[in-house]
Symmetry: C2
Subunit: 80 residues, 2 copies
């Protein structure tokens, strides 16, 4: 079994209201140095696969088709 | 300015319905090798700070107080 991690983040320039809310909440708690925050996600996949190169290629395909929204998000695949 | 990344994931043993839904959806799309998935989040913080050690300590504090739920989630802080 191979584990792949897909990191999905909003493209730069895309407004991130959730991140803005996090930064505001941190400032409200007294963390004045928290200027901005961006929230992304990580999907850890357990793949029934033995070839790391093929695992990476398939995970990239899964990310492009289901895990990320290519209009506003970018992704990176990491095989662990 | 220092950028810190806080990786938040569910502790092992905690049920992850969102991850289960992702794995099921991937299988439905024909990715039979997708046995399981776990979904975590990454918060990228822009900190008005110059000392990396202090940035890391403060980001850990923010994670423990606001960004992660210590009952069900664990976190790691990375200073970029």
């Amino acid at each position: 079994m191979i584990r792949a991690r897909v990191h999905v983040r909003l493209k730069s320039g895309v407004l991130d209201p959730q991140g803005r809310a996090v930064a505001d909440a941190l400032q409200g708690l007294g963390y004045a140095e928290a200027l901005d925050a961006r929230v992304g996600k990580v999907i850890e996949l357990d793949l029934d696969e033995t070839d790391p190169a093929r695992a990476r290629a398939r995970a990239s395909e899964m990310a492009a088709r289901l895990l990320a929204n290519p209009v506003i998000e970018s992704f990176e695949v990491e095989v662990v």
